[in-house]
């Protein structure tokens, strides 16, 4: 399966990008970034219909919003390796005068970014607005949104979840990165999220679960299934079960690496576990 090998290679390279970006500036969020690498690589490279040139309005193409903006390293790597901007620009992550701010923004004009995010809980509302805009424009492409699971503790999400179902916004696929971790510990320790499938379904959403959210085939199949549920009157939610820090053994299964950069030695170990595939930036 050539496609799978290609996506695996991009993912490995993206993991290297993430580690190198946060290591260089000794800050940033590697844990959630690594956990969503397979998902974003698959979404952008094999699922979304994207135009070659970036335009803010995103007419006649699928568009994506990142609500949990702190996983900017994976977002930037995926955007750069899809050709939205030169991969060398990844070198400027979090540096002064860079378009690659700590959290993504439209303010510096970085292609691929359509909304600023970082203050949590706002992305889904924006994605719903863009979905409504597509409907008015008779543009039958889709809107994707990725959110953290801890982020669901923000009340605005539940306003948006209620709205989308009540108003039959059925051209949106919202994915929850269900890694069970947040800054202060596990989501169970901080604020239990409960049964999210039941919650979303009771609000009137269609729910797809991807049991192994770090497996590219599972992700691809789950996304295709989600797409098949669109335009049927209900918004669609994907519960994506991921492992925070996936692909770097000492970063996995813990919240410790939510917002901490590896030191020189740790970087070397992480890079060794993920050999160069497409060439470093």
């Amino acid at each position: 399966m050539q496609e799978l090998e290609k996506l695996n290679n991009i993912t490995t390279q993206t993991r290297r990008d993430i580690l190198r970006m946060v290591h260089k500036v000794n800050s940033g969020h590697p844990g959630g970034s690594l956990g969503c690498a397979e998902f974003l690589v698959t979404l952008f490279n094999s699922v979304m219909k994207r135009n070659d040139d970036f335009s803010m309005d995103g007419i006649n193409e699928d568009i994506f919003f990142l609500s949990n903006g702190h996983i900017s390293p994976v977002f930037y790597s995926v955007l750069a390796r899809c050709g939205y901007f030169d991969i060398d620009e990844l070198n400027t992550f979090r540096l002064i005068n860079s378009r690659l701010q700590g959290h993504p923004t439209t303010h510096e004009g970085l292609p691929g970014v359509r909304i600023a995010s970082g203050s949590l809980g706002q992305g889904l509302s924006v994605a719903i607005g863009a979905s409504l805009s597509k409907k008015i424009n008779n543009d039958d492409n889709l809107v994707y949104c990725l959110m953290g699971d801890g982020e669901l503790q923000e009340g605005q999400n539940w306003e948006a979840i209620m709205y989308a179902a009540a108003k039959n916004v059925d051209n949106i696929i919202a994915t929850i990165d269900l890694n069970g971790q947040q800054i202060d510990g596990s989501t169970d320790d901080v604020i239990k999220l409960g049964n999210l499938r039941t919650k979303f379904e009771s609000f009137g959403w269609d729910v797809i679960e991807i049991e192994n959210g770090n497996n590219i085939s599972d992700i691809f199949n789950g996304l295709e299934k989600a797409k098949s549920k669109t335009y049927l009157g209900k918004p669609v939610c994907i519960l994506l079960k991921t492992i925070m820090g996936n692909g770097v053994d000492f970063m996995m299964h813990t919240h410790e690496w939510h917002g901490k950069a590896p030191n020189d030695e740790q970087l070397e170990i992480g890079l060794k576990q993920n050999p160069e595939t497409l060439g470093d930036y």
């Binding site: 803010m56 309005d57 995103g58 007419i59 568009i63 919003f65 923004t105 439209t106 303010h107 359509r114 909304i115 600023a116 995010s117 970082g118 203050s119 706002q122 992305g123 889904l124 509302s125 924006v126 994605a127 719903i128 607005g129 863009a130 979905s131 409504l132 805009s133 597509k134 008015i136 424009n137 543009d139 009340g155 605005q156 306003e159 948006a160 209620m162 709205y163 009540a166 108003k167």
Partner: protein
């Protein structure tokens, strides 16, 4: 002195509603959102004419601001409508990140601003909104004075690219500006010529300033009244020019003196032409229940208090 009169009283929010109706008919990209206050915001005609472009979001203002930001992606021009308190304080971070920092072309239209909201009391009477909104980089802040100006402003902001905060009110107030006025964002309007004092007023206080100027004129004091509908960007030229002639200024607004129009004028003058200034504004306090007229009097937001402040500022020249 030019003498302003009026034949009818109308609420500024009806100016917004009628402006929105007109816009909806001529521009298909205009969309409107409301958080369960369609009647209060006078958005019913737009809703009736364009059900496909009207979004009832329910009592969920944060979501409304986010949806509005998203609607701009694809070329829509969203007008959000709710009370000023729920348009700003309740959703400051949503406006800050999803609209202002993201540079989205959203028009935040806010009714029932200030103390003249009246009987509902302090929970609903926001006196801090101008300050919050003017501090956001890239945000245009407009506070209109009567029905005609509000209608003209509503239509004008659709052609301005970028986020706008449009502030208006609940009560019926005199209609005294030209129904066919050209509304220029960022350009003050000189209402009367005067030599002794400059009165720079915004919103409902413009009429009070004109009333004050009539009494002052009879007492031999000539006041130059400037109608500043746009608080940001401030028309610096019109104020500096007037003050260079009069040598003193009274600012007047239905807002806390902290963060309002008066402070913007003080900054302008301290940088360019230090000038005695007095402030008509609320004094770092919350409001309370009462009729608009009672509240304007109690909190010193009326022509009588403007006259007093004019007399004190002239002595400081």
């Amino acid at each position: 002195m030019k003498n302003y009169t009026f034949t009818e009283k109308k609420d500024t929010r009806s100016g917004f509603g009628d402006g929105l109706t007109e816009l909806g008919l001529k521009n298909n990209n205009i969309v409107a959102l409301c958080a369960d206050l369609t009647g209060s915001l006078k958005m019913n005609d737009f809703k009736k004419n364009h059900p496909d472009r009207f979004f009832q979001v329910g009592i969920a203002e944060a979501n409304m601001m986010g949806i509005a930001a998203g609607l701009t992606i694809g070329g829509k021009i969203p007008f959000t409508g709710t009370f000023a308190n729920f348009s700003t304080g309740r959703v400051y971070d949503q406006i800050r990140q999803s609209i202002a920092y993201s540079g989205k072309n959203v028009k935040i239209c806010a009714s029932h601003a200030g103390i003249t909201l009246g009987e509902d009391g302090a929970t609903h009477q926001i006196l801090e909104d101008i300050g919050m909104m003017k501090m956001l980089p890239g945000m245009t802040v407009i506070n209109t004075c009567d029905y005609n100006q509000t209608k003209a402003a509503t239509i004008a902001i659709a052609d301005h690219k970028g986020p706008v905060y449009l502030r208006f009110g609940r009560p019926k107030v005199p209609v005294f500006t030209d129904p066919n006025q050209e509304f220029k964002i960022g350009k003050g309007v000189k209402m009367t010529e005067g030599n002794d004092v400059t009165l720079v007023a915004t919103g409902h206080l413009v009429w009070e300033a004109l009333e004050a100027s009539k009494v002052l004129f009879e007492q031999g004091i000539s006041a130059e009244v400037i109608n500043i509908h746009t608080i940001k960007p401030l028309d610096e030229e019109i104020i500096l020019k007037s003050v260079s002639k009069t040598g003193c200024v009274v600012s007047a607004e239905e807002h806390n003196y902290l963060g309002g129009l008066g402070e913007s004028i003080s900054r302008l003058l301290s940088l360019n032409n230090p000038t005695p200034q007095e402030f008509i504004a609320t004094q770092d306090t919350f409001g309370e229940s009462g009729t608009p007229a009672q509240l304007m009097k109690k909190y010193g937001l009326n022509s009588e208090n403007i006259i007093k402040k004019v007399k004190s500022v002239i002595k400081r020249k």
